[in-house]
């Protein structure tokens, strides 16, 4: 049985139209035009226990709204969802003790106090027994290597250290389901990798079910076997990341290097669409099925070929193209 099940889930936000200017503002005091924004429309998916699924999509696509509904912050405008058998927006304590939500842009730690104080507070709120708290804390602190900073006020920590402490605060009660909204936002490359490695390891060892949203393709590539691509409030793709390439990348890339005097543009144009050109190195895009033939033709030609490589198109590019096509 899936641990997360979502059926026709929709969310429409209400807001009021606000015209610029003083007179319009005055008018707005008496009569306001109500507008609706569709944030999520009739999405369906299910996730099995232990899966690590990536939500991918541009800003405003509906990723965060979906996570907010699954964690019970928002009531949907339509459809159903069950997480661990619970309806999230009923906000039952029994459910709340089994999941955690981390938002990269919001922190739950007490800003002026050492992170340890926030941990103790969560221990009480989640009613974690002393022994279990000690064990979980030790384990997480060692895994993330933050023992020395536990007694430093949070405001003095770096962004990366703070995110590590946020993770600890959220994982102390051993949630079975974890929602991560942009956990690596704003972090430097090293800190991003640290957080990523931790998430990967934690998912593998604890079998925690994780949904992760991120802008960074690196996060998704490293962590998620399965991706759900959302844009304009709809799901565009739900499946293996690897298959995304087969399905959407109709082309392969041939990188050819030359020696001697190199080549001219006219000489190579006939083999396919030129993505990059210099006399000694070219990148051509060829239809998937014709990639081999094109390579053979280049080798058979009189051109001074030094080396030839056939590559898949980068996943970033595939995703970018998906979003571009829907606009």
């Amino acid at each position: 049985m899936p641990i997360i099940e979502v059926k026709n889930l929709s969310k429409t936000y209400e807001y009021y139209k606000k015209e610029p200017g003083f007179i319009q503002s005055l008018k707005g005091l008496f009569r306001r035009e109500k507008l609706y924004a569709q944030a999520v429309s009739e999405i369906n998916f299910s996730i099995e226990e232990g899966e690590l699924v990536g939500f991918l999509g541009p800003n405003g696509a509906g990723k965060t709204t979906t996570l907010k509904m699954l964690s019970g912050i928002l009531h949907p405008s339509g459809g159903e969802a069950r997480v661990l058998g619970y309806v999230p927006w009923k906000r039952q304590a029994a459910y709340q003790k089994q999941f955690a939500l981390i938002m990269g842009q919001k922190n739950q730690l007490w800003w002026d106090l050492p992170a340890m104080e926030s941990f103790i507070l969560n221990k009480e709120i989640y009613e974690i027994p002393d022994a279990e708290f000690g064990k979980n804390l030790d384990e997480l602190v060692d895994l993330l290597g933050v023992r020395e900073i536990l007694s430093v006020p949070v405001r003095k920590l770096s962004l990366g250290q703070r995110m590590k402490c946020e993770l600890i605060a959220a994982l102390l009660h051993k949630p079975r389901v974890l929602f991560l909204d942009e956990p690596t936002i704003g972090l430097d490359v090293v800190a991003q990798k640290n957080i990523r490695d931790f998430i990967k390891r934690y998912n593998r060892e604890k079998k925690t079910t994780i949904i992760l949203t991120s802008h960074y393709m690196e996060d998704i590539k490293e962590l998620c076997e399965r991706v759900i691509i959302i844009d304009h409030s709809r799901i565009l793709y739900d499946g293996k990341l690897a298959e995304l390439i087969n399905k959407y990348a109709a082309h392969k890339q041939l990188t050819v290097t030359f020696n001697d005097h190199g080549v001219s543009r006219e000489q190579v144009e006939r083999f396919g669409e030129l993505a990059e050109f210099s006399p000694y190195k070219i990148v051509i895009r060829v239809e998937r099925s014709k990639a081999k033939d094109a390579a053979a033709a280049i080798l058979a030609s009189e051109l001074p070929v030094d080396d030839i490589l056939i590559d898949e198109v980068e996943i970033d590019e595939v995703v970018r193209r998906i979003f571009k096509n829907t606009r």
Binding site: E14, Y15, A39, I73, M103, Q108, E127
Partner: protein, 267 residues
């Protein structure tokens, strides 16, 4: 035991945080002290010819100001700004996913948060009273003191619920500072914080007894000064209990509405 510890932990952590801002807190207290001295100076000038004003002798008036201010610093809080900020910037979401009701969490946190200001204020108020001992009327009737303590305790909880309720306005509008300032002034007026309500026509005194505000200043001091009897105080306590229940009910109602709205705009 566990339940008590759980809530005291929240209070304790908020208290620790408040300690990090002790100098700001102390600076605020100095300003308040000045305000109280101005009131005393004013009444001293008015009474300079001697006599009694609307049943208040000079000593009674000074006692009214000094004791009233002491009670006021004991019962007050700044919860509305905390609640409105949580709502406006979406911090509320953090609490909605946790297995503890926001109201309960925030009340216990506020107790810890105001503790430092509370301590400074009580000490400074007592110092001023000590300074004016000559004019301060001492009353130690045990039954009266017991009723006084009950009224103050209930007023403390009432003030917390009132502030919480006012803070919930933020669900509907993000511009709340003006509303809060106005509500505070009205409260202070009906509480008798500017001057004893009994200087005004009797209808105001009646209103002050029936509304919850007077119990944070006017009513308990009237009791202390012997201007109302223990029976009236007992009736007052019943009115306070009624208000507590009513406020709690209204909070539930407004909260449920507000949360719907919060979800609607998806802050």
């Amino acid at each position: 035991m566990g339940v008590i510890k759980k809530h005291l932990t929240i209070t304790k952590i908020a208290w620790q945080r408040a300690l990090t801002y002790r100098f700001t807190v102390l600076a605020h207290r100095l300003g308040e002290l000045g305000e109280m001295l101005v009131l005393i100076l004013m009444w001293a000038a008015i009474y300079s010819g001697g006599g009694v004003i609307k049943g208040y002798s000079y000593r009674e008036m000074i006692t009214y100001i000094l004791l009233g201010n002491l009670i006021n610093v004991v019962v007050r809080n700044w919860l509305s700004s905390v609640v409105s900020r949580d709502i406006a910037d979406g911090t509320l979401s953090q609490f909605l996913v946790k297995p503890m009701p926001y109201l309960r969490y925030i009340l216990f946190r506020e107790v810890g948060r105001i503790s430092v200001a509370f301590a400074f204020s009580v000490v400074s108020s007592l110092l001023v009273i000590f300074f004016f001992t000559r004019y301060f009327i001492i009353n130690t009737a045990p039954l009266m003191l017991a009723a006084l303590a009950a009224i103050i305790l209930l007023a403390f909880v009432t003030e917390l619920l009132l502030s919480f309720l006012v803070g919930l306005i933020a669900f509907w509008t993000t511009e709340v500072d003006g509303i809060y300032a106005t509500i505070d002034r009205l409260k202070k007026f009906f509480a008798g914080g500017y001057f004893p309500i009994s200087l005004l026509p009797p209808v105001f005194v009646k209103a002050s007894f029936l509304l919850p505000f007077g119990y944070s200043f006017f009513v308990p001091v009237q009791l202390y000064l012997g201007k109302i009897g223990i029976e009236t105080a007992a009736l007052g306590i019943l009115i306070q209990l009624f208000w507590l229940a009513l406020l709690y009910g209204i909070i539930q109602l407004v909260w449920n509405r507000g949360i719907k709205k919060y979800e609607g705009v998806g802050i």
